[in-house]
Amino acid sequence: MPPGVFQNMTFARKKIVWAYIFLAIPIVFFAYIRVYPALFAFQMSLHDYNPLAAEQPYVGLENYERLFEQLGKRKSQTKSAFQNTINYVLLGVPIQLCLALAIALMLNEIRVMSTLYRIMFFLPFVTSTIAIAWVFRMLYQPRFGLFNVILQLVSLPQQPFLRSTQQALPSVLALVIWQGMGFAIIIFLAGLKQIPRTYYEAAEVDGASRWHTFRYITFPLLNPSIVYLLVLQSISFLRMFAPVIAMTEQGRGGPLDSTVTVVLQTYREAFQSFNMGYASSLTVVLFALILGVTIIQLSVTSRRIN
């Protein structure tokens, strides 16, 4: 054995020991604060879990049966929660991404003041959702709210906004789209910078129109950014909670459950009615939805790139 090998071995072993020492706290943390609670949530969903009761009896899949029974009814709070959440995703994500893409394309072409615009589009994103949702709630008020003041100035009829079962959901959605757009704009701008300039020069030589350049160069090459944002924004719309609790009467997701979301429903079941077992089954279904969205969107992309 040449000299030095033994030394190197202990050296390598020492490094392994140090690696575990450095990782000890993070490993314990993830095991206890992330992994164990996730398993606990699954387990809870199989129990009639009420923290105030003496016992938490095992009920098998009863919570899930109740959940699907509620979904099967013509009208129930759980059903509204799921329907609204899906509406938020299906309306919110495409509108937000189309607006953000249009803005990013315009920002990408201008030089003067582009930093100023960027900051202005970006400010809502770093603002507290609760604070700004209350501001929007005031803007939506009848009579003195800014939106109704503007409607009156241009002689249009006053609108109830958050007080109408039809308009409440789009009103909440408008705030969420407004607030999250800055993030999507920044990701799109970073994606646009990635596209090699030579492609545009070639298109120019061929006399391609702006629309054709967008359709056949920008849009396909922006695909990674689009998919990344589709996944991320779908997940954040699925998890919507703060805007609804801040903008509806007593945080109930009204009027008449027209804005309630799955997470708000979970919060009310768990922390107001103490049906923690049933609430856990709601979060498990939410988890499945999020996982499904991620998998579907990732598989669609990998196919398109191939």
Partner: protein, 298 residues
């Protein structure tokens, strides 16, 4: 997806890529771009202006339709500061955000350093477990966390304590992943040279790896501070007494009284939003580059 962008080239050239030879319609396109962008930018700041303007209005002017206060007053500010727990909420938000940011800066960078620079049995499975925890939505963990907080392994209860509000975020998987990417750029030769000179393994992290990754750690700190400052759902569950509320929870509770004190809510909102906006404007370059670079979401 944005890994190969470097901070310097994101902003240096504001990409005049498509406009080279289309001088004829170029100015029209630009004109409409500026017009539209200005209109959209206006809708972005009007809610903030409305919030600030209302915070200076006396109560009698709230229901009137004037945009700016006719008789501006500071009464709302003195009311909010003297008659509500808002100063305490401020302090709580600040303590919780600083606590978790310091912890995240240290533990995330240390774990990222280990995953980037050490080889040890079990490295892959441990890293994969850390990453898959990102797939589990925090909403699923809220109820177990609440049960754990009311009956914790250490202490009597975590409810209504700073640790109780902060603990879910003191180490983050996304931060570890980000730091691992950056720490991979630390040259091995430098670390080995340090080892030969007898620098301890922790010394190598602290005096070589950390100084070389300061920009990334800085970006991580900013996002983490913002995220904690604005965090709502867990602080709502983890606090029951007004003295322990964070700012978002406190602002939400303003409404519980019979009718809505709009001027006080707007004052509270201004106080919670404006200082942060100033900080964000100062660091905007850094923050926007950080998002573009990492795809991190506050």
């Amino acid at each position: 997806m944005a890994q190969s962008i470097t901070p310097s080239n994101i902003f240096r050239d504001q990409g005049r890529v498509t406009a080279v030879g289309r001088a004829s319609d170029d100015w029209k396109y630009k004109f409409f771009s500026y017009l539209l962008l200005t209109m959209i930018a206006f809708t972005m700041i009007v809610p903030f202006l409305w919030m600030i303007s209302t915070s200076f209005k006396p109560e009698s002017e709230i229901l009137r339709r004037n945009v700016f206060p006719q008789e501006p007053t500071l009464d709302n500010y003195s009311d909010v500061i003297n008659k509500t727990d808002l100063p305490l909420w401020y302090k709580n938000s600040f303590i919780v955000a600083v606590m978790s940011t310091v912890s995240v800066a240290f533990f995330d960078s240390l774990a990222g350093y280990v995953f980037a620079k050490y080889n040890f049995p079990g490295k892959r499975p441990i890293f994969i477990i850390f990453l898959t925890s990102l797939m589990v939505p925090t909403e699923m963990l809220l109820i177990p966390w609440f049960i754990m907080s009311s009956n914790p392994p250490i202490g009597a209860t975590w409810v209504d304590t700073y640790w109780g509000i902060a603990f879910p975020g003191v180490i983050t998987a996304s931060g570890i992943f980000l730091m691992r990417q950056f720490m991979q750029g630390v040259p091995d030769e430098l670390l080995d040279a340090g080892r030969i000179d007898g620098v301890s393994e922790f010394g190598l992290y602290w005096r070589v790896a950390v100084p070389l990754s300061l920009p990334a750690i800085g970006a991580l700190c900013i996002f983490n501070f913002l995220g904690n400052w604005n965090a709502f759902i867990w602080p709502l569950i983890a606090t029951t007494r007004s003295e322990m509320f964070t700012l978002p929870v406190g602002i939400q509770q303003f409404s519980s009284e019979a009718d809505t004190p709009w001027n006080l809510i707007m004052t509270g909102a201004s106080l919670s939003v404006v200082p942060l906006l100033i900080v964000v404007i100062i660091f905007q370059r850094y923050i926007i580059e950080g998002i573009a670079l990492t795809g991190l979401k506050g």
